[in-house]
Each structure stands twice: as C-alpha cells, then as structure tokens.
C-alpha cells in the first residue's frame, strides 16, 4: 500500500501501544466538471462578493459570523476558534471494546485503514488476530484536522480498519418510521422468507458499478472522437500588460536614464 499517511501516531489501550499510520480507504470516483463562460469558454473562478459595496472582497477582509437572527451575527475570530479546537492527538486511545455485530451501521461515517509503522508489525498482527477471533471493535476518541472524532477500530481481512462515527446527537430519530405492530400472517411471512432465501449470494460488490458514471465516460469518449472540443482563450494579464510589456517599459526608461547621464 503506497498510500501516504494522513496521520501518524500510536493506537493504544491499557499497556499496548502500536505505531500506526492512517490512510484513506475510499476514493470517490465521481466525474466533475469545470464551469466555463458560455461566451468564450474561459474557466471561471470564484470570488467573494460584497453585495453592499458591489465589489470583490479580498481574503484579509473576511471575518466569520454566526447568524443568530436574520442579519444579526456574533463575530468569531480565528484566535477564538482556535481556543476551542482540540489539541492535535498523537494517539488513538481505545477506551472500550464492543461487540462488532452490535455496532449500528447508521453511525458509520468515513472509513480508513490503519497501517503498521516501523517496529509495530508484530503487535499489530497480534491485535488484528485477537480482534478477529473475538469479533470485537474498539471505540476511541481521536483528533484529526482540528476535529474530535469518535471512531471504531476493527479487524478486517488481516488488517485494522478505522471508521469515524457520527455522534449520537447527529442521528435523527426513527420513532415515526416503524409502523405499529400488527398481526402477521404466517403464510405471508413464509413467502417472503422463501423469496429471500432464493436470492442469497456471497457479498461480492465488485459485480456492481456506477451505471451513470459508465454512460458518462462512454459519452465523453464518443464526443472526444468527434473532436467536439472548445478551447479557453489564453489569459492576457490586465489588457495585455504582461512581463513582456514591463521589460519593454523598463528598457525604454533605461534608455532615457542613459541619455541624461
């Protein structure tokens, strides 16, 4: 796995500490488009715009505001935000182990792999094996990119995987979803059971692909063959005043300097 670590530290609980690196487990493969100006196909750039002044706002004029009422804000400086940011953590400290089967998938957010770092291979392997056999996941709190995450660490195909979890208060209630319990008819139940059994397969997600993405790449390939390309105009800096003009202007000024000396 050549993936660059996005974090390095140790995973630990009680007296165990294993050096690891965190790497991405997924890479979304959506196709993205650039926005162009329909008149000349220039690639457009985003600017901050002040509707009151009617001008573009430069980065050093930006400040964050939290809206409490329409048009009423509480200002928050970067210093204040930093004062509540958690310290970068060097450890993923497992605080409890839970039954993997009981981990509710609704809480799962984003998956990563944990790769053993130098010197940690043996202990890592042992932990992978024990967690696999006991079917347990470790729960830990851990700071990544200034946010504190609740994560689950589990054994997966001979390696450790880590999934960030949603906090409990982010999960929406499901009270209204399940209908009131009524009488189920035995005949109906067995019919559904049978049709499910009929459709049972091994989990093999490789069989499936994003259909729209496939159609879209085919369409792009076809248009490419037709050479249906447009070209963005070369950008001339401020009406043709690039360094070439600067050189010419300096040379002209230098000529005047030398004449007068």
């Amino acid at each position: 796995m050549a993936a660059q670590g996005i974090w390095g530290g140790t995973i630990s609980f009680s007296l165990v500490a294993i050096p690891v690196r965190l790497v991405k487990a997924v890479e979304p493969r959506g196709l993205s488009f650039h926005l162009l100006h329909s008149k000349d196909y220039s690639r457009l750039s985003r600017r901050m715009f002040c509707p009151a002044e009617g001008t573009t706002v430069l980065p050093d004029e930006l400040i964050k505001g939290y809206e409490i009422l329409p048009d009423k804000y509480i200002l928050m400086t970067d210093e204040e935000l930093e004062s509540v940011s958690p310290e970068r953590s060097r450890t993923i400290e497992i605080v409890e182990f839970i039954d993997l089967k009981k981990a509710d998938p609704v809480y799962y957010d984003h998956p990563y792999y944990l790769v053993p770092a130098k010197g940690g291979e043996k202990a890592y392997q042992l932990l992978v094996e024990v967690m696999r056999r006991t079917n347990k996941a470790g729960l830990a709190k851990f700071v990544l990119a200034e946010r504190e995450y609740l994560v689950a660490v589990f054994s997966r195909e001979g390696a450790l995987a880590l999934t960030t979890l949603h906090y409990h208060d982010e999960i929406l209630p499901d009270d209204d979803i399940s209908p009131k319990k009524g009488k189920t008819e035995a005949e109906e139940e067995s019919r559904i059971k049978k049709s499910i059994e009929h459709m049972i397969e091994d989990f093999n997600p490789g069989k499936y692909a994003d259909g729209r993405r496939k159609k879209l790449t085919d369409l792009l390939a076809a248009k490419m063959k037709e050479r249906a390309l447009v070209e963005a105009p070369a950008i001339e800096e401020e009406e043709g005043e690039g360094p070439a003009d600067l050189v010419a202007a300096l040379e002209e000024s230098m000529r005047k300097v030398r004449e007068s000396r």
Binding site: L58, D60, D78, E79, E237, E238, E241, G242, P243, D245, L246, V247, A249, L250, E251, E252, S253, M254, K256, V257, R258, S260, R261
Partner: protein
C-alpha cells in the same frame, strides 16, 4: 546579575546587566542601547508596528555569538503583543509585535541589538507594503559603487513613475524602497518587477552591478538583491542599530545627500552612527514617513 526596574505606561519592567559593554572596541553598554532605542522610539515604532518581529540577539555583545529568534520568548510579559504567523509555510508560530515603547525596551533588554521585520504586516502576510532593492557591495566594491548603482536605479524607477526612498543598511550597503501600500500588490508582483529591473540594470551596467546571487559573480560589483521581496524574508528595520564593531544604524538618507557624498568621494560619510542618528532624526524628522503611506502601483503588472 544586577537588576533595576523602569516603569513605562504603568508597566514595571526589570532591566538586567545594564553596565555590560556590548560593543567592546567602541564602548557601548546595554544601558546605552536602551537609551538609544528610547530616544529613537517615536521614529522606529511606526516602522515596527503590526509586523512579526525577528530578534537578533547578542547576549554577550557583538564580538560573541548571536542567535535569531523568530518565536516570541515564552517568558514574555502578558502585555507583549504577538502575532500568529506561519513559519516554513505551515508551522504556526507566535512572534512578538513591537507596537509600543515598553515592548521595544523589553526586547532590547534581551540584547536584541538588531530588529528585523518582514515587508508585510502580520495580518496580511502576502501583501508587501513596499518593494525593496537590497544593494550589497561584493568583495572589492564599496558604498560609493553602491551609491552610483542606487542613483541609476532611482532614475530608472522614476521614469517608470515610481518614487523611491533610500537608507543605509547600517552595514556596507544601501536599501532602495518603493512604497506600494496597496492591498492588490503581492510578493509575486514585487519579485517579478524587482527581478526584471535588476536584470536590466545588469544588462546596461555589467561592470557595476549584478543581479546574480552567486558569490563569484558579485566580486567588485554591487549585487542587487531582488529576492528579499518574499513573504518569508525579513529586512533590517529602518533606525535599527547594527551589530558591528561600532553601533552604526540603518538610517534614511535624502537622495541629494547620496549625490553629494558621491561627488565628495568619501564613502565613510554615508555611514551613520547611533549618536548622529538621534541628532539627525530630531532635526529632520522621519524621512521614511512616506514609505508607510505613499500609494503606488507597479506599472505593467
């Protein structure tokens, strides 16, 4: 260690080792340093204001070891203002900001003889408020060659519609500054402009100047160091003392003075020592006042 206390703006400040001679071959103590900076404070403070300060400290005097301190010491009094800046692009760092006399005296009590600041303020580190040409005489060249190059540069930029200001580096060279004070001008602009201007100077006066960094290229020539126009670089602040055998100062000059000294052919007269600096600044005011406020746009960028 001897200690005395001063009170500035209601803040009590301990001062140490006042009798220590920091310039042994000239005779200039810590107390003299503090006195110099106290006298020059009204003139230097506007130029230090809101900038991340780099301290160049000489705890044992100019003949002994020094060290640069970009980080504001952790033992600072709680009223010392600081700025969060990015060191080496991504490492956040807390720097001192000397906006008042008490902070200036505090850093000088740390024997920070030389005060270095970036060309941009801490709040907008990518926006230089001036462009600089650091004229540095190589081996065999002197401040007279430097003055000649500076005057040509002044004329060149003047034909480009840009006003320039000059100061001694306090060392061997001269600094030519072009005030900008426009939020739209970036270090990329000042670097592009100064590099092309330096190269054109070299093309037309190859025996006098070079725009190349390499040491062997600089022999008997004035190196026009344009690469100081960079968010990561700092420059000696105007009115800062230098740590040489004598306490020379980075001091602003009138262009007419540079012309006159050129005619007299007396390079030594361009160096300004601390006592003259205080005397002159009190008579003529701050010749660098305009550098902080004059708005100029670099043409063709």
């Amino acid at each position: 260690m001897s200690r005395t206390f001063v009170e500035i703006a209601g803040r009590r400040l301990p001062l140490s080792n006042l009798e220590k001679d920091l310039y042994p071959s000239y005779g200039f103590t810590k107390a003299d340093i503090l006195e110099y900076y106290r006298g020059i404070a009204p003139f230097i403070l506007p130029h230090l204001k809101d900038r991340a300060l780099t301290l160049k400290r000489y705890p044992e005097g100019v003949e002994q070891e020094f060290f640069f301190e970009k980080r504001c010491p952790g033992h600072r009094p709680e009223w010392v203002k600081t700025a969060e800046i990015l060191h080496h692009d991504d490492e956040p760092m807390t720097s001192c900001v000397a906006n008042d006399l008490e902070t200036l005296i505090w850093v000088e009590n740390l024997a920070s003889l030389e005060l270095h600041v970036p060309l941009a303020r801490a709040v907008s580190p990518e926006t230089p408020d001036s462009m600089v040409f650091d004229l540095d005489p190589g081996e065999g060249a002197d401040i007279l060659a430097c003055s000649r190059a500076a005057l040509i540069l002044r004329d060149l930029l003047s034909h480009m519609g840009l006003a320039t200001y000059v100061k001694t580096s306090g060392n061997k060279g001269l600094h030519v500054l072009v005030p900008l004070n426009r939020r739209e001008t970036t270090f990329e602009d000042t670097k592009t402009f100064s590099k092309i201007a330096a190269e054109i100077m070299q093309k037309h006066y190859p025996d006098l100047v070079t725009a190349k960094m390499a040491k062997q290229e600089r022999k008997e020539k004035v190196f026009i160091n344009w690469s100081q126009n960079d968010a990561k670089k700092t420059m000696i602040c105007v009115y800062s003392i230098r740590a040489r055998e004598k306490p020379f100062v980075s001091f602003p000059l009138e262009w007419s003075e540079v012309e006159r000294f050129m005619e007299l052919g007396d390079p030594e007269r361009l160096h300004v020592i601390q006592s003259d600096a205080v005397k002159r600044v009190k008579e003529q005011g701050d010749l660098f006042q305009e550098v902080l406020v004059k708005e100029q746009k670099l043409p063709h960028l």
